[in-house]
Each structure stands twice: as C-alpha cells, then as structure tokens.
C-alpha cells in the first residue's frame, strides 16, 4: 500500500472532493484544495488546519474551465506542497435535464467541467508522474458512465469519457509504476443528488471518501462505491441494447 503525503484534489469545495481532501489531511497528508469558490475553500482549509493544529490544507481558487492556467498552477501547487504523489479529479456538475430536453448549453457545461477539465488537469499530471515513474491519479467517474442512459445523455457521456480517458492514460503510464484509479460512485449525498427521486444505496460523502482513499492506496484500477455497484453494473453492462432502451432510465 502506498502512503499519500502530498495530494491535490480538484473539486474540493464540496461533496466527494471535500470529503477526500479532509480524509487525506486527517491522515497526515499536505493537501492542495482546488475549486472555483475561493471563499468556500478558505473555510475548508481553515477547518482542516484547525483540526490538525498545523497547516495541511492549501487553498487555490481556480475555474477548471481556465485550462490554459493549469500547467503553471500545477507547478506552483507542487512547489507549495513540497511534492505531489496523489491527484484526485473530483470536479463535476450535473444539470437537471428533462426527459425531452436537449439543451446544448447545459450539456456543454457538463462536458467542460466533468471531461475537459479532467483532461486539462490530468494530462500534465500524467506527464509529470510518467516522467517520475511514480504517483497515483484518481478520477471520479460515475456508474452513470457505464451505459448511455436516456435520462441525462451529456452527463453520462462526460463520465464515460472520463472512464475511457483514465483507462487510456493507465495503459500509457501504468507500466512505469504510475497508478491510475477510476472511481465509479453510485448515489452519494451531495448537492448533485439532492432532490432526486430514486437514490438507492445512497451513502455519505465521508463513507465514499473512505472507500476511495483505501482503494487508491491499494492501487485498484476500477473502484465502485459502494462495492455492490460492481455487480449491478456488470448486469447492466451485459444487458443487450434492445432490452436496455426499454428500461427508460
């Protein structure tokens, strides 16, 4: 098992990202918190540092849409932390989309944050870790990315894109000792799932973070959160299209 000492969490202002950042810091890691909402990040960093009695959290306000700023910010964060051995991409949005709604703006926003943001951050991270022949990349995908569900096409597409991108960079740099972990959570109690009608097996962000960090330390390639989703999604993935489309999920 690897021990994470210097971690970067993108999308750390709420939900799974915040919970992962808090858990890593509680374990002794120095953690860079990246998200758009600087004031919220400052609150989280103050809370983490207060609990630790030392500075373990470092806030960096950044909009993942500003992709050109990423390489320099990554270098600045690495210097501030004194190294980097774990990067977690957790930034994501999910717009509510009606069953018969086709809104290009909403869809492109989801693709920009969930997928293009991941590519913008994880490309230089993969280059760095590949060159150093060490490091762990964790990308938060979703069970929603395993099939083309009719409910939210662009969200599904963005998460499927994240899965494929992570698999591809794993195939590139995994052989050099870099671990790339694809996380596929089910329903987690976050703003994203608030108000949803059916949310089976919903777990807290902290419970999700516990599973994610533990599995990432072990270097698992694909992690369903919680684990029972693996079996559900195995059935769903194996389902023929002619059957799946009739489910209207």
């Amino acid at each position: 098992m690897v021990d994470f000492r210097h971690a970067l969490v993108i999308g750390a202002s709420s939900g799974i990202g915040e919970a992962v950042a808090r858990r890593l810091a509680a374990g002794g890691a120095r953690v860079a918190l990246v998200a758009r909402r600087g004031d919220r990040l400052d609150e989280i960093a103050a809370s983490i540092n207060g609990a630790a009695g030392e500075q373990r959290a470092f806030a960096f306000a950044h909009d993942v849409g500003e992709t050109a700023a990423v390489p320099e910010l990554l270098q600045r964060i690495s210097a501030e932390l004194g190294g980097l051995d774990l990067v977690v991409y957790a930034a994501a949005i999910q717009h509510r989309v009606a069953f018969d709604e086709f809104d290009g703006v909403k869809d492109q926003e989801m693709l920009a944050v969930n997928l293009m943001g991941a590519v913008a951050w994880l490309d230089p991270v993969a280059e760095r870790f590949g060159r150093l022949r060490r490091g762990t990349i964790v990308g938060i995908g979703s069970v929603a990315g395993d099939r083309g569900r009719s409910a939210n096409p662009a969200y599904n597409t963005s998460k499927a894109g994240v899965h494929t991108f992570l698999e591809a960079i794993r195939n590139r740099i995994g052989r050099h000792g870099v671990r790339v972990v694809t996380v596929k959570p089910g329903f987690v109690e976050t703003r994203m799932t608030a108000g949803m009608a059916k949310t089976p097996w919903k777990i807290s962000p902290d419970r999700a973070a516990e599973i994610i960090v533990r599995r990432a330390r072990r270097g698992r390639e694909t992690v369903y959160v919680p684990a029972r989703w693996r079996y559900v999604m195995w059935v769903i993935r194996a389902m023929p299209s002619c059957v799946f489309k009739r489910l209207r999920v």
């Binding site: 021990d3 390489p71 320099e72 270098q75 690495s78 210097a79 004194g82 190294g83 980097l84 230089p124 280059e127 760095r128 060159r131 150093l132 022949r133 060490r134």
Partner: protein
Amino acid sequence: MLPPDRLEWVEGWGMSVGAAGYVWRPSTIDGIRQAFGAARAAGVPVVLRGAGCSYGDAALRPESVVLDLGRMNRLLAWDPAAGVIDVEPGVTIRALWRYALGDGWWPPVVTGTMEPTIGGCLAMNVHGKNNWRRGVLGEHCLELDLLLPSGELRTVDAASDRDLHLAVIGSFGQLGVITRARLRLKPVASGLLHVRAVAAPDLESMLRLTDEAKDSWEYVVGWIDAFARGRRLGRGLLHFARHLEPGEDAAASQGLRVDAQDLPDTVFGVLPKAMLWRLLRPFTNRPGMRWVNRMKYLAGSTVGDGAEYRQSLAAFSFLLDYVPHWRRIYLPGGLIQHQSMVPSGDAERVFARQLEAAQRRGMPPFLAVLKRHRPDAFLLSHAVDGFSLALDFPVVAPRRDELWALVREMAEPVVESGGRFYPAKDSALPGELYRATFRAGELDRLRQIKQRLDPEHRLRSALADRLLGDGAPA
C-alpha cells in the same frame, strides 16, 4: 515556469529518500549561471548535486532546481612533482586516483566508494579510514573557486581567506558552487598496502585496539557484529593498513599501474560480481543477516585473526565498490545510515546504548563500522577526538516511523556526550539534535556568511532545511 521536461526523480544513495526536481547539468560556469537565472525567475531554490552518493537528502530538495555538476569533470592542471591537482567539481575520486597513481600519488582522503565527486566530497567534507592521521578532505584543499548565486566568481585561498575556506567546505553547498578545487595529494611508493586483521571479542576491545593502532597504522577500520548481545556486544574485526615504504615492494611500478588496481569482475574466478547482490537478497532480513554477521565474525576470529597480507589500494579503500549494486539488496525501501561521533571517554557507553536500543526495538543494523577521528577547524565540523559508529538500517515502510524514532533515541546520548553527527550519511536526524552539537555562535557565524554570500537564500537542500532549521541559512 520551469520546463517540465527537466523534471526527474532524484534520490539519495540509500534510496530511501527522494524528491522531484528540475535537473540542470551544466558543463561550464556560464551554464551554472543560467540555471541560477532559471531558478530565480521561477522563485525556487537551487540544490547542488554531485554523484548523489550522500546516503540521505543532502543533494536533493523537492520541486527545486537541481544543479547536477557531474558533467563538470575536467582535470584542469597537474603538477606531478608536487602532487598538486586542479579539478572541476564533477571529477570523481575514481578519476582522480586513476590519473594520479601512475605518478606515485594517491588522494589523501577517500570515501568507501570511489564514485563521489570532489565537489560533493568538499561540500560534505568527507573523511576516510585514516581520519585520525589525515583529517578530512578539506584539510588537503589548498584553494577553490566559489561561484556565488549572484554570478560572482571568487577564489578562496586556504591560507589567506581562512575563515571563508573553513565555512565553505563542509557546509553542504549552502554558500556557493565550488567550480574548481586545488588539492594536494599524498605520495605513495607502491600500489599495495600492508594489512593486518585482528578480531576483538567485545566493544571495549574494539575501541582499545583501534586506539592503540591509530598512531602506528595509516588506516584503521573496524567492523562490528551488531547482532551480538550481552558480553559479546560490539564484538568485531579490525583491519589496520599502512602504505609500503620505498623498497618494500619489488614491483612497485607495476602496482602503480591503474590496471593492477582494478577490482576483479568475478568471485572465485567464475561468478560475475554484478550478480552477487541478487544472491545476497535472500539474506537481507534479520535471520539472514544475523547468520551472515555471525559467520563473518567466526571466520575472522579464527582463521583470519592476526592475518597479515598485502592488498591493493583500491581493494582496501573502496569496499563499497567490491560488490556492484549491493545497495539494491535493500530495495524496495532502501537503507539509511546513522553515523555519530563520540568523544573517546564516552564511546563505549554511548555505542553500547545505541546497539542495545536497536536490538531492543528489533531493528539491529545490518552493517556497523567503527572508525577513529580527530577534531578539525571547519565551521560545520563533524569530527571529534573520539570514535564514530556508522550503522546501516533497512527501511521497511510499515516500520519507518519507528526507525526514525530509533535514530532519535540513538542520537540523544551523542548530544549529551558532546559528540557530533556526519551529515553525509544522514536522513533522519532531528534538526534540534544536530544544532545542539554546536557551540554558541558557530551557527550564527554561518548565518552571517550565508547572508553575505547568498542573501536571497537561493542555495538550499532538504538536508540543510532539516538540520539547520527555520531561519538558518537554508
């Protein structure tokens, strides 16, 4: 922003500590200045690196510019009549002795491996198995050129600029980049040494025999079976060696040839030594090493006790090179070494405490080496009038914190006895214990010189940050 393609993982020799750094490998002084310029523009420190032979974090610092001086490896001037040589910092001990031996000269101080660079050796002010007789390498440096982070090049003469000379050498590369060093070598009449091996049944005997031999032999080094307990605690084998006098070696000129010094490539004439570490790997655990140590002592205390023989300079001096890649037996965690220097009167008590502490915690060192030392005048001197005990420990991830705690436990009695520590070997010493070994004002003097030569504190290393602490020249 620093160029990402310069990013590399840089490790200490013990392979237990490392860091990502942006590596520059200049071949000229202008190239060094360019690296400083890049670091200044990016707002990051510069750490100096030679061959990376310091065990711990002396030649690395996370996310900094790493100035690897290995390519500045030219021999600049040589006076075979006086034995005085000018070298660039990247010249290795290997290159130095191979060049000078044919004229009858040998480096006055060498490390246990011939791979370190002269720049690195001066930065850490290394000692050898003859520290009692010859002191540290810095005592044989007549002059050096020092490039300051500002780009200014200064010549520092050992006699006329004594204070700066004593501060620059041994201060871990915190004051400037040594771009040229003038060294005086030692004349030798033969490429062979006369060696005597002696066994000692306990720690008291080891120390006493070492002390008795220190004035009559050029080299004195002891190996200790760190697994032995009770009345056998500290038992070991000593090797004394002296250079052959003129006339003692009938084929002296043959022995001064470089190829006569080359270490053999095979063991027993058949087994390639490059493979030997793989055979040692199954023994790299406590039961295995207990057995290896016991067998070594048994052999040395029976058939080997009192043996006298001749050995080449290289074979005796560079034991760490005898088995290529041997440190790989410690992978994946690597190793750390702790070497403390203790005044003669306290050495037996302190070293016994160290060995017992390691045994009590279930972490006996796999290798333990004893040497005799004398004090020197360098500002960050590590030597005292006494003995040093160097202990090698494997690093195993689940017990890493406990090993670091053991280092602290072993270091505390060293501080109480007025001893010192050898930074070239260190990875784990708490800074407050290191600082406690210096007299009042010594570190302040270093800070003042640092402020004068490197006011922006551009030169730093992880070792200096850790040992010299906040607000110190780092």
